[in-house]
Symmetry: C2
Subunit: 118 residues, 2 copies
DNA sequence: TCATTTGTTTAGTGTTTACTAAACATGTGA
DNA sequence: TCACATGTTTAGTAAACACTAAACAAATGA
């Protein structure tokens, strides 16, 4: 299997566990509301990534970026999908335009939109 | 049920059927590779919208915009999701910024990106 | 040392997704 | 009129999804 997702979760959890023993696999699993055995299989890549709700709960517990963590599972949040679904022509065209551009160009758009008076 | 999707397909199909008999429910279903009974249930809203692949095939056969048709099913294409998944922080922030802006503002960004030298 | 905690493994389950197959009643054209 | 096409309805299903339950061996720590 590919397992970028599981490795990401494990790495993040072990990093936090170094400072805080409340980040054992079992305790994290309990807090996010899944069985320890399931989280184990997720981290080892023995099972595919869990649902969006569980990924979000994991990200929050571990203090990781939700968009990034979801992306490692090949997913986009319902929140972002809803933004596109409301205006599909507009955002469809925009995303296809930006898809081929380098990071710095996209970042410039992000900053202009954030800072500019639109 | 809500059935914006089914009505959209039926309206599009009947519009084309007015000029071309090849747009009967049965013939469309055959061309896109599903059973007539299934397409009937889709159009009446008796069953939820089909898979992305089937929606795409339907959109193409009927000459409808794929992003719009998918959106009526509450979906975003794999193609657009992949754009976000490749750079989730960048596009996550951008989409959240633009989510609250009126159409004309988003359109201005689209045009600037398309026409400008980035 | 021995009770506890840890991570792992195996087997099984309810739900949802995305349809097919087949029969049906109604309508149309030759 | 009657063969054929149309849209509809009912019942069923294979595969994927998203887990749980329970038992296990290894490490920890009092």
């Amino acid at each position: 299997m590919n397992n970028a997702f599981g490795l990401h979760i494990r790495r993040a959890r072990l990093a936090r566990r170094a400072e805080d023993k409340r980040f054992s696999l079992r305790q994290v699993a309990t807090r996010v509301g899944i069985q320890p055995g399931y989280l184990s299989r997720i981290e080892t890549g023995d099972t595919p990534p869990p649902s969006e709700a569980t990924i979000t709960a994991l990200s929050r517990d571990l203090g990781e970026n939700e968009d990034v963590t979801l992306a490692l599972a090949g997913k986009v949040s319902q929140e972002l999908r809803a933004v596109i679904v409301k205006r599909p022509e507009l955002f469809g065209e925009l995303l296809r335009q930006l898809a081929e551009m380098p990071d710095h160009a996209v970042l410039r758009v992000v900053r202009e939109v954030r800072d500019g008076e639109w």
